[in-house]
Amino acid sequence: METLLTAPWVLDAINTIGLVILLYFSTLQLVLYSLLILSFFDMRRRLAQNFYADYEAVAKSHFTFPISVLVPAYNESAGVVDSVRSVLSLDYPEHEAIVINDGSTDETLARLKREFGLERREIVYRKSLPFRGKIRGLYRSAATPKLLVIDKEHAGKSEALNAAINLSRYPLFCTIDADSLFQDNALLRVVRPFLEDPERVIAVGGQVRVANGCRIERGRISVPRLPENVLAGFQVVEYLRAFVASRLGLSAMNNLLILSGVFSLFRKDVVIEVGGYRPDVVTEDMELVLRLHRRMREQRRPYAIQFLPDPICWTEVPETIGALARQRGRWHRGLIHSLWLHRSLLWGRHSGSLRWIGLPYYFFFEFLGPVVELLGYILIPIAYALGILSPVYFWAFLFLAVTSGAFLSISAVFLEELSFGLYRSWGDFAQMIGIGILENFSYRILTLLFRLGALLDILVGRGGWGRQERAGFGRSEASST
């Protein structure tokens, strides 16, 4: 074994792979720093726009676009009522809430019926999009005419959303998870790009924040706070980094490939034109955005898919390692599947900047990232042990990895403070800075393992959604009040 490891070709190979990893790592950092800078300027511009132009006044006027808010719910009895209340009480001139009970086996439908006094109704709808799972009943409430509940057989989130699109009345639709809560003005803000440029803008995503630990009153986040659960705390900083520091930068270049299914607004006609949500992909949100990019670019139609940092939606994140592992595994499998389905964009003649920026970013850094990172964790200690890598370089590499990771996280916290400053207390602020440093030794490695697990799942042909656990907002409400 020792002879093999010291063989010249093995040493050369380790050396070369080490160099590739170093090069990969440096490029990744450079890209992330560039996105951070772009995000910073874009954020400043948008905040100035908000301050001077008061877009909300336009959105509140008679000439805004009405919106259908789609809330798919599968076994969400814990949080569905709060979530629907949050949608119904939104500050927006004209909107409807469509809840899809996707064959829940728990109390989801019963709770909705009880809380909103729902009555079964016959409603004629146009089947613009095909969907699986028979509709068992449609429910309306005399007291809340803005609410429609679809009770259908379980067939998955994509099918539920397609059914809801068929029954929606308005030209724009917004998706929100049943375990999420909108900020009061979220719709007024997310509709802004459609008012600015109704011809070009086809989809807009808002920012998703972690609701765990926050004080919730009447379906609203009244006091944003960091969660006590460590795992959820790490996700607060992770979400900030993902949304504030990277998506904003990609959006500025119209290269954003992911709009979170938790909170995005779409033009209905374009989504119907591309065939709606695809049921065989676990990250249907990403796949739809990729398909929209592809269709628009293939047909050479001018379009924009944007991310805005100021419309905010709060969501419940996993608090146990098992639930987090399932969620991340699902996301990574979905990412790979979606990229694979639209791989032709990488060499397509009409892909434009997507070929050079968006797709390589997701392909090399998001999809291949875990593999390269794992190789680094294995090969660099081996190279160090064999004396190929001097102790100085070994420690330097580790130092570089930790400090650059910490830099990105702290910068995201900084950007949040600079723009919104939602977490008012010094304690929360200090905790976020601490998490930004600590996550590099712990949480990052954990999520790496989950993503590697997803890759393994793909190789052995495992998949699916996995079981999801919902604590519901009632618990954080009870613990905080």
Binding site: Y52, T64, E196, F407
Partner: protein, 355 residues
């Protein structure tokens, strides 16, 4: 390979950047907390000064401080506070600001080559509501930058001066959608006094302006517009026809039902859809049979709007819905069943051969 010294230097630099970012984040947190305090203090002091304006002696004492506030860090806040003063006091303050050159500085700022300086100046002018600033704001509505155009429209909305109404209506449809929507919202707030200009534009303006005029007239509900809106139903532009029928629906005048009815046979689907919606809003039961026929239209939205219109008409639409229940179009039968169930009558669409 990199030599040891360069490596240490690079790592040191990186560590410095991380430390600096952390320090900057902490400094920003301290700064924003202080800024909140300073804003609160500023507003407290300004409000005290504004209270002094009620007496002639206090006015002398308070004016220099108010002028200073209008040129300082929180000038936008000061402008907002001044805009809420009673008219005679506000005019005194504006005169003082004019003498101190604050207004002319804002007007100069509105022509700056930096967009946010222009935006800031336009926002200030909007809060101060001076008639002589209207041309500056109207000019800014055609600024090259969309953000500046929006700020100008917002400022004009704050002013709502009579001097602006004609010019505003003239600008309808010229700039982008967001600015036109803003101008439209201002015209609605200004109310009936904009109606003559809007009617003129509806008759003589370019198509986008005609479209916006019809939409605004529909919101203002002024009976003077009925005739012009009726004429606009024959417009060459389908969007204008659709906006005019929508507007007549909003106005809800029963005598206009017969004018909107022929549009249910318009070749353009969205005109027919708006006509169905308008007939529902007007609520004339005599239109129920034609709306029942529209349940068989080839366009989904026409059928859906016709169904909603029949439900809106209520009990008197029952014969039309029952008749539709018997027709050979399956979709119309289902719509009729839905409409009847909405009216509290249990009915199911009978199945037919060939469905």
């Amino acid at each position: 390979m990199i030599d040891f010294q360069t490596l240490v230097l690079t790592l040191g630099l990186l560590l410095c950047i991380v430390a600096l970012t952390t320090v900057a984040a902490i400094a920003n947190k301290i700064h924003s907390n202080r800024e909140e305090d300073s804003k609160r203090r500023f507003l407290g002091e300004l409000r005290k000064r504004l209270l002094l304006l009620k007496t002639p002696r206090g006015r002398l004492e308070a004016t220099p401080g108010i002028v200073a506030a209008m040129t300082g860090r929180w000038s936008e806040l000061a402008a907002e506070e001044i805009s809420q003063l009673e008219l005679p006091i506000r005019l005194d303050v504006l005169r003082a600001l004019e003498r101190a050159g604050v207004i002319s500085r804002c007007i100069r700022g509105a022509r700056s080559r930096f967009k946010w300086t222009r935006a800031h100046a336009l926002r200030m002018l909007g809060e101060l509501r001076l008639p002589q600033c209207v041309p500056t704001l109207l000019h800014a509505l055609e600024d090259a930058d969309p953000d500046v155009r929006i700020v100008a429209a917002r400022s004009l909305g704050r002013m709502k001066l009579e001097a602006a109404e004609e010019a505003l209506v003239e600008l309808l449809g010229k700039p982008d959608q967001a600015v036109s929507a803003r101008i439209a919202a201002i015209c609605i707030e200004m109310g009936p006094r904009t109606v003559p200009s809007l009617i003129r534009t509806l008759r003589e303006g370019p198509s986008r302006a005609r479209f916006w005029s019809a939409r605004i007239l529909g919101e203002i509900h002024d009976p003077r517009a009925t005739r012009s809106l009726g004429d606009a139903l024959l417009d060459m532009d389908a969007e204008v026809r659709s906006a005019a029928t929508w507007a007549l629906g909003r106005m809800g005048d029963r005598t206009t039902a017969s004018l909107a009815e022929p549009l249910l046979r318009d070749p353009i689907w969205f005109v027919r859809a708006h006509a169905a919606e308008a007939l529902g809003r007007i609520g004339d039961a005599a239109m129920a049979p034609v709306l029942g026929e529209a349940l068989r239209d080839r366009s989904w939205w026409v059928r859906k709007n016709a169904l909603d219109a029949l439900v809106r008409i209520g009990e008197l639409a029952k014969p039309a819905l029952l008749k539709a229940l018997e027709c050979d179009d399956r979709f119309a039968r289902e719509c009729a069943a839905e409409g009847l169930s909405s009216l509290g009558i249990s009915a199911s669409a009978p199945a037919r051969d060939g469905d």
